[in-house]
């Protein structure tokens, strides 16, 4: 599915300094019943964001008007648990284009890359600096440059580089899709299929 190209993102961010944020928190299973990719942003962090009577929980960061932006900053081991891509969809549909953490769960990271959310892994020291700057001044901006593979805390004028393989980088810079790539080598896939033992 097509997504917005990702080049350089300069934005405020939303801090969520909790570790092991799992995909059941990002989007609880009872909201996975759709047959189209519509409306998942409304249920992002549903049970942390809303009370059982659907009133907003005042102390949750998404309900705090001070914090906004296209970058979500989470604690270590972000996105653990289920393979539901709905978690990445809900983050994208809410309006985030980038998640920064000191560690990502594997399937979640892959799902993000496949739908146009850039997962940026930084050192735990750098992550702590982002949290402290943003809590200190919610208007603080972060610049994420995919071409340079750097993330910068503007206020402190410090940067750190992040990893992404060059194939995925190219995809995100151009909004390309893996399936287009695979469709182009379909003949060799069919030939290969005849050689598999099972």
């Amino acid at each position: 599915m097509a997504y917005e190209k990702f080049k350089i993102l300069k934005s405020n961010c939303v801090p969520l300094p909790i570790e092991n944020v799992d995909t059941d928190q990002i989007i609880p299973a009872r909201f996975l019943k759709a047959t189209e990719r519509i409306g998942f942003g409304d249920n992002l962090f549903r049970d942390w964001r809303y009370n059982s009577d659907d009133t907003p929980k005042k102390d949750f960061v998404l309900n705090n008007k001070k914090f906004s932006g296209k970058i979500l900053v989470g604690g270590k081991n972000f996105g653990s648990g289920s393979s539901r891509e709905h978690a990445a969809w809900s983050i994208y549909d809410y309006g985030f284009r980038c998640v920064i953490s000191s560690f990502f769960a594997d399937i979640f990271r892959g799902n993000c890359l496949n739908i146009g959310v850039l997962p940026v892994q930084v050192s735990s020291g750098f992550l702590d600096k982002i949290f402290s700057v943003v809590f200190d001044d919610p208007k603080s901006e972060i610049i994420v440059s995919l071409p340079e593979q750097t993330v910068t805390i503007v206020k402190l004028n410090i940067s750190e580089s992040f990893e992404i393989n060059s194939y995925k980088k190219e995809n995100m810079l151009n909004g390309y899709d893996d399936i287009d790539y695979l469709m182009n080598i379909k003949d060799s896939i069919k030939t290969f299929s005849k050689t598999t033992p099972l």
Binding site: E19, D24, P28, R37, S82, S83, S166, L182, I185, P197
Partner: protein
């Protein structure tokens, strides 16, 4: 060059390598369920393409299905719509579909092995993280997202960087009352939920060799809970005996040919792993979790660890105990519970019901406990009846529900109420996993049975 089991299977499935990018990996078996597939099928429709290899694709309904009155129309319109979508998509693309009411219906990771779809040396994917279950047969099996489901439907391939390799060796004999679930919860408690992220795990050693295929499936199933993409165990005579003569396994000459491949499937003596871990099987006790991720587990007779002894994330740790309404230093034994859930792709197989029944036989369900016993498939349900286990369950005051994922993820009506404690044989104790506000204690079928008859956390070894 020496290769690990994982290398052998992975390398033989690489169609194409992309420089500084992922491998294009050919997929032998693609399992599909109703929740993570509709948007992928929609993608195919938009591209105007059909499923490339429908004969390598198998669909079942499990996540969203009711576990009572399955003969009646599904009440929840959203669930019904999702089930209908999978039925229509399967028909359109010529995929075999084992929907609600079909004799082969059940949890995708239970029916795959039962019908011999799961085979050694195969690459198997499904839009579900517990696809790692199938690694018990020496397959490379892992969960994928919906974009990848679309990828496999349309091209039978997936693009993945090759993971690093970890071997976990456990030798020794397990003590009485210690089950495969305890082995897995023990490993996760040592590694944490991110300790194996980026790795594919091979389990080796006496403990896994001694395990039944059901037990191996439980262990491999929980690989994802330590962050690993998957886990696998080299196939042996137990594996071959299990799969022989199942509906989808090769027959006659084809069996002989397949065996030639399968018998090569073990790590070479001098194969190198990126990480090796060893544990002593005799030191493992029945386990239970006390927090909100599967890494927060302890031996059942131990106390809840102190926050100050945590490696970091003290605030996250306290938040977790607060959610559970537990205090650090408390003993788990004797805590009252409200629900027991026996089932799921982790522990919903016949062996799990046999274990559960061992404890409850001659005892009565505690009056404060609501018990949901959910077989993983119709085949498991039938075996429960044929082996006389159902009579024992009924005699003790239990009922059997119909197959499905049920309260493991509570997408259907099987939701644990807010604030209630459930001893569950499933795989995740995340906040609200079993229903908003629910509090989950992960454990083995034996521990679940002990809780079901005493109404509180009880060491099953005291009930033999």
């Amino acid at each position: 060059m020496s290769k690990t089991l994982f290398d052998k299977v992975w390398d033989s499935h690489v169609v194409h390598k992309i420089k500084d990018g992922p491998d294009v990996l050919f997929i032998d078996r693609h399992m599909v369920h109703e929740v993570t597939s509709p948007v992928a099928f929609l993608g195919l429709k938009q591209r105007g393409i059909k499923v490339l290899f429908p004969e390598k694709t198998f669909a079942t309904a499990d996540h969203n299905t009711p576990t009572v009155n399955q003969h009646l129309p599904v009440k929840d319109p959203l669930s019904a719509n999702q089930l209908l979508a999978l039925e229509k998509n399967s028909e359109l693309h010529g995929i075999s579909y084992w929907g609600l009411g079909h004799e082969k219906n059940g949890i995708v990771h239970v029916v795959g092995p039962e019908y011999g779809i799961t085979q050694p040396g195969a690459t198997i994917v499904c839009g579900d993280s517990h696809t790692s279950t199938h690694g018990a047969f020496g397959a490379i099996a892992f969960g994928i997202g919906t974009s990848e489901v679309e990828m496999v439907l349309s091209t039978q391939c997936i693009m993945q960087p090759k993971p690093k390799k970890m071997r976990i060796t456990i030798d020794g004999k397990l003590s009485k009352g210690v089950s495969p679930k305890d082995v897995a919860l023990f490993i996760i408690s040592k590694l944490s939920t991110s300790g194996a992220t980026g790795y594919f795990v091979e389990y080796s050693g006496e403990v896994f060799r001694d395990m039944s295929m059901e037990g191996r499936m439980t262990v491999c199933n929980l690989s994802i809970e330590m962050g690993a993409r998957g886990g696998m165990i080299a196939p042996d005579s137990k594996t071959f005996d299990y799969i022989k003569n199942r509906e989808f396994t090769p027959k006659n000459k084809n069996w002989t040919k397949a065996m030639q491949y399968w018998e090569t499937l073990e790590s070479d003596q001098d194969a190198v792993f990126d990480k090796e871990l060893k544990f002593d099987g005799e030191l493992i006790n029945p386990m239970i979790t006390y927090g909100t991720n599967p890494g927060m587990g302890i031996g059942i007779s131990k106390e809840i660890p102190l926050a100050k002894n945590q490696d970091g994330g003290i605030e996250t740790y306290k938040k977790s105990l607060n959610y559970m309404n537990f205090d650090e230093g408390q003993s788990m034994i004797g805590k009252n519970i409200d629900f027991v859930f026996l089932g799921s792709c982790t522990n919903g197989r016949i062996e799990d019901f046999r274990e559960f029944t061992k404890i409850i036989k001659g005892r009565k369900k505690a009056s404060n406990v609501t018990a949901w016993l959910v077989p993983g498939s119709h085949q498991v349900e039938k075996a429960i009846k044929d082996e006389g286990l159902l009579d024992i369950l009924i005699e003790s005051g239990f009922e059997l529900r119909e197959p499905g994922c049920s309260a493991c993820l509570a997408m259907n009506d099987d939701k644990i109420p807010s604030g209630k404690y459930a001893v569950s044989t499933s795989n995740r104790n995340f906040e609200g996993r079993q229903g908003p506000g629910s509090r989950t204690l992960l454990a083995s079928p034996l521990v679940a049975a002990a809780a079901a008859v005493t109404g509180k956390i009880t060491d099953p070894r005291t009930l033999y």
